[in-house]
Structure formats: C-alpha cells, structure tokens
Subunit: 306 residues, 2 copies
C-alpha cells in the first residue's frame, strides 16, 4: 500500500515529533520523513539514532517537497520558524503544529502561510516529563485525544487527510474553536502545571533546611507533582506566556477556592472539608469512565521497577 | 519457623490494614490475625473475602491476647478507639498506629495506654486513591518508607520487634521526632493533597459550563491531580484538622510563591519562569535517585490498560 504521505517534515525533534516519527514508521504512514532541529546537538543525536530518514541543517530544506509539515517547536518559536519555511512550502501541503496553545500559534503562523497551503493547527494531549530526541516512543498517542482547531476557511479534504493520519497513529481526533481550546487546556493542563511547579518550589526551600528529607519521604502527592514539574522548562514558559489570560483566570479561581479550604482548616470546619473531598472523588470516577486513565493503583509503578 | 507474632489485631480494615494482612500472610509473620471495623458492611466484606482469620464485632474482642495491635482508623477516631481497647490490651503487647499525623495521634492515644504496653506510633508512606477492605494488596509497602516516632520511654526491644515486622513486609524504616514528622509530611503530602483537591474543585465548576470537556480532555497535570484528589475523604479531613499548623504554614508559603509566578506570567517575565522551572527539574531527579519513583513514562499506565 502506498503511504498516505510522500514526505513528512518534522520541525523540532523533541518528544512529540520523535513519537510521531516512531508511530508513522511503525504504521507505514510516510514514504520519507525529514527532520530539523535548531540545536546542533539535537540534530546529531537524531541522526545517530536514525530517528528520521534525513536530518537537515535548515528548516527550509526539511520542508521542501513535503506534503505534510509539522511544527513541533515551543510556542514562542512558532512565528520565526513559520517565517523561515513559508517561501519553501509546497503548494497543496498540509501545515500543522503541536503547540499546547492554539490562538497564539494561529496569530504567529497564519500570516506567513502562502495561498494553497493548508494550515490546520493541532494539539496532541499526550506527553511525559521527558524531552529531547531520545524521549519519543510509538505508542505515546495511543488512546489519547488530538485536538484540531481548523480555521474558518480550512479545506475539508485536507482536514480529512490529517485526521486519518492522526487516527492511524492511535489517537482520537476532535475539533474545537481555538479560544475554547485554550480555556479548556488552562484548567486541565496549564494551571495544574504551574501549581505543581509552585509546590515543588516551596519544598525546595524547605529541603534546604531538612537535608533532603523532603525528597526521601516524598509520598503520594508530592511525587506526582514532581513528575509534572519536571516537564520541559522552555515549552512551559512559552505556554504560560501565550495562554496568559485563560491561565491567570483559572489561577485566580484556584486561589479563591484554596483560601476557602484554608479557612475551613483554620476554623476546624470538618463538614466543609469532607463534602468538598467527596465531590472531587466523583470527578475522578468520571475521568476513569471517560477512558482517560485507569483505575490501577498508582503505586504499581514503583513495584514494577523492582 | 514460628511466626514473630502470635496474634495481630487490626483495628480498621481499610487499604493499609488490608495490605498489612495480605503482606503478613504472604510472609508468614502472624500466627493469627483478627480484625475489627466500625462499619458492619466493612466487617461483612472482610469476612466474605477472608481478609483476616477472624472478624470481631468489637475492637475489644479483636485485641484480646494480641501481641501486636494496629490502629488503622482515621486520625480523628484514634482517641475513641484507644479508650475502648485500653482495658483489654495484653501486658507486653505492642500498640502501633498508621495515622498520617503523629503528634495529634500521640496526644489522643498515649493517655489511654496502660503500663506494660509498648505504644510506638508509626506512619507507612504508602497508599493509593482506593479505600475499603477490598483495596489492599501485599506489595503496597514494598520499597516504601515506614516512619516510626517512638516516645522518649519506648522499649528498644519492642521497637526492634516492630521494625523487623515492617521490614519483613518490604518497607524501609526510619525514626523521627513527631513534630518534625508532621512538618515533613505537610510539605510532601498534606499540602499537595489539599492543592489537588482545590484544583479539581475549580475544574468541577468549569465542567458545569463546558459539558464534561474538562473530563474528556484531562491531560497530564489534571489526571494526576484527580488521582490524588480521589483519596478517602474522611481520612483526609482528619489529616488537615489534626496537622493544622504545619499544613497552614506550608499553604501560606505556597500562596506566596504562586502569586510571584502569577505575577511573572502577567508581566511576561519569561526568564523568571524558565529559571524556576529549571530548578524544579533538579528536584525530580533527586527523587528518582533516592529510589522513591521510577523514570518510566507516566503515560505507560494507560497504554498498559489497552
């Protein structure tokens, strides 16, 4: 069977692009994959492990004759990359991105896209706390959601083609308005990440006085926070700077709620706490029913590593 | 080989007590295990699945002739249970607990302990978001820390005996002053749990307007929060009410830090965010090196459930 894409160009060779390369190869979705990363060290590693068929010195080279171009760079780098590759995009090519924020990426990229190129912004809801060209794996997208935020003039045939590719990598596709995407992600991902970073920072201060006890005895809650807070600093800096309004809105609500619970602790209002904690349990059940996680005990992870 | 304990009494038959029963049976650590739970439904389930050798109607019956008694009830229930069992404790018995707070448990239990009974407060740093008599499993404690906070007059031989039992269940033992335990746990566990509960509550409000999108698209951060926030409401209510000072102290520091990061987002201070996020990565590495978690990608969990 002929692969659905002749040449896929991956701009940026981190966790997401690397996982796409693995998944597309495993499923035979691209005749050829070229890749470019700004960092020479990343390009070298990618070439060494054969992550893609061809590692190019420039982004422009990578996109030449590609029928699919994927921008997999931090959100803050999208504008520059788009400007650089725009004159080299093939007519009829699909251009997509994997940024965690959508409106800011559209504002940065759309003005550069030449007529005849189909720009369809996207965001795979998948990741780990690891980054770099060695961090990808073929199953990263399996059973995860991949949101697309097509523009009003998006060509339905191009959208179909991109959706088929994404489904072939194992993900589910949904479409959404860009600002709505940014609000939903602020609450499900961006605010939680900032909160996890903050808590780990607080522990860091305390750690200095307790000689690593905090690390040694990091129980349930804190371990999960540190995993979240170990994510790529550049990517997350850009997320917060480019989804500023929605993130600050959610963080404001969060601070209000937290103060109410803090007050309940201070006043000894056990009923309030119990009611609140009972309600949050139901949300967890909803997530398990929605298939976005399993009910398997969290702590199995460490047992498995024995 | 004769088991090290003749009769172990488990008061409370939830996740921790159930896991102890499984682990002690697997390792042959008790000749006989009796158990009691306040709820008739819990007692019925425990008897039905044969969790222990004998399920008793009262706590007093369970502890009769036991050479080890484990209080595995919510922190707020410790005083009442201690008062009830005290007259029935066998001379020379070891009495321990598994509460997440230590000073408050000591204040609640110690006044009831008769002379000749060795009260050694303890806290296994292990758990899942599940609770109840069916939730336990033998490997829960494997490679986890089990903190003991012996009192000034604790008998060294009794302490040795309890430590050996805990090690035989797979855990590592360390001892600590009770107030210090409560501070360390406030930062590694109690504050993170309250924060997770809060964030899930915020999402709950938003969920009402976005028709379950928040659940459907719950990415990395939020999923981890919901797992934490699904923990037993009664247990956690009691933790916060009984470790009030340390928890409020850490939450105060947390709010300060969060506001500084919120301000950096508002002002567009990318350098501050990047520096902060880079520092938190190092803490994560420390935890992996300390053996409290693995570097395996978090998202493997859902792939495994396919």
């Amino acid at each position: 069977m002929t692969p659905p894409f002749q040449k896929v160009a991956l701009i940026g060779l981190g966790l997401i692009a690397g996982s796409m390369a693995h998944a597309m190869r495993e499923q035979g979705l691209a005749e050829r994959i070229s890749g470019h990363a700004r960092s020479a060290a990343t390009r070298e590693t990618a070439a060494e492990i054969g992550l893609v068929d061809e590692v190019t010195e420039t982004a422009a080279e990578a996109v030449r004759d590609a029928d699919l171009v994927v921008l997999a760079v931090p959100v803050g780098a999208m504008a520059e990359v788009a400007a650089e590759i725009a004159p080299h995009l093939a007519p009829g090519a699909i251009l997509t991105d994997v940024g965690s924020v959508k409106q800011a990426v559209i504002d940065a990229v759309a003005p550069h896209v030449p007529a005849g190129v189909h720009f369809i912004p996207g965001h795979p809801l998948a990741g780990t706390e690891h980054s770099g060209p060695r961090s990808g794996f073929a199953t990263l997208f399996r059973n995860r959601w991949w949101l697309l935020t097509p523009l009003p003039d998006t060509d339905p045939a191009a959208l179909d083609r991109l959706e088929s590719l994404i489904r072939a990598m194992g993900a589910n596709v949904d479409t959404m308005e860009p600002p709505h995407h940014d609000l939903v992600l602020a609450v499900t991902s961006h605010a939680p990440h900032l909160i996890a970073y903050t808590m780990v920072g607080v522990a860091d201060h305390l750690r200095r006085v307790t000689e690593s006890e905090v690390i040694r005895y990091s129980a349930a809650g804190f371990r999960d926070f540190t995993r979240i807070a170990a994510s790529d600093p550049t990517m997350w800096r850009d997320v917060f700077l480019h989804n500023k309004e929605a993130t600050l809105d959610i963080l404001g609500r969060f601070a209000e709620e937290l103060f109410v619970l803090q007050r309940a602790i201070r006043m000894g209002d056990g009923q309030h706490l119990h009611d609140y904690f009972t309600r949050t349990r139901a949300i967890r059940r909803g997530i398990i029913e929605a298939g976005q996680d399993t009910a398997a005990p969290d702590f199995g992870r460490s047992a498995k590593a024995d």
